[in-house]
Amino acid sequence: MRIAITSTGNTLESTIDQRFGRCAYFVIYDTESKAVEIIPNPNKVVEEGAGPASVNLVAARNVNKIVSGEFGIKIKSMLDSLKIQMIIMKEPEKKINEIIEMLNH
């Protein structure tokens, strides 16, 4: 299973980004191979439509779940139809490696 986590930086020590569409980086974690891929988000600076563009970006990488601080109204319906699970983590201090540890439960 592949899980995308929104991140403020490009290391595993970075904290979770509270926004989905305009987050700085996506960390894609594979629970089977334990592989981590970090991709910068090109939609961080676009004026409009950052959310749907980011959905397409992560959906192209076959993720099943997304962990972020918040999801916009346009994104929720898109992810619902793509059957991607949304996990809302309202703790801005949580580090990426802490979340990965939780996912390994």
């Binding site: 918040e70 059957k83 996990i87 809302i88 979340i99 996912l103 439960h105």
Partner: protein, 194 residues
């Protein structure tokens, strides 16, 4: 002038069937045009008559105003009556809707998550794996229904400058007085999730 745009209606559970067919007709009804019941009309009927919510509660669930909900509901009744009387098929499709799923909250890791696969019930929290989760109602009927405008702030994405949101002026149209960049919307922490 084009008419005012319709607000997207939220549908929690799409219907399990695509429509209804009449049976036992005295004369052939094969060529009759089916009645098109929209998804939002189906949902209005489900909330009002199956879940027994009142129109105000149901309108909050669907994300429309109470009068709009009543109009959707009245139109649903009218279409169903028409299909019954004229012996027509009912086709449930279309409408200006989006689908939402059920939400849960986990007490162990303090997160919220949804269930995109409606058929499969959630067994454990997808994040920490504990089973201490509850069904989370996105709509709290006791809370104020409308957004409080003072809950909204405009924030500059460049320097983080914040100012009180002016009602009627989109945050994107505001210019940051410090660095001259366009502002963005920011909601205060106590603002409800929707």
């Amino acid at each position: 002038m084009s008419p005012r745009l319709k607000v997207l209606r939220k549908v929690l559970n799409p219907p399990v069937i695509k429509g209804f067919k009449p049976y036992g007709a005295e004369k052939s009804l094969q060529d009759s045009i089916p009645v098109n019941l929209l998804y939002e009309e189906y949902e209005a009927m489900r909330l009002s008559d199956y879940d027994m919510l009142n129109h105000l509660q149901a309108s909050v669930v669907m994300g429309v105003s109470r009068p709009t909900f009543t109009r959707i509901y009245a139109s649903a009744l009218q279409k169903i009556a028409k299909a019954f009387v004229e012996g027509r098929q009912i086709l449930i499709e279309g409408g200006k809707v989006y689908f939402d799923s059920d939400w849960y909250s986990c007490r162990a890791c303090n997160c919220y998550f949804n269930n995109p696969e409606k058929e499969k019930p959630i067994e454990k929290c997808p994040l920490c794996g504990s089973n201490q989760f509850d069904k989370f109602d996105t709509v709290d009927f006791n809370n104020e229904i409308h957004d409080n405008p003072s809950d909204v702030q405009c924030v500059c994405p460049e320097c983080g400058f914040e100012q009180e949101h002016q009602i009627g002026v989109p945050c994107k149209k505001e210019v940051c007085p410090k660095c001259g960049k366009g502002m963005m919307r920011k909601e205060k922490k106590n603002c409800k999730r929707n």
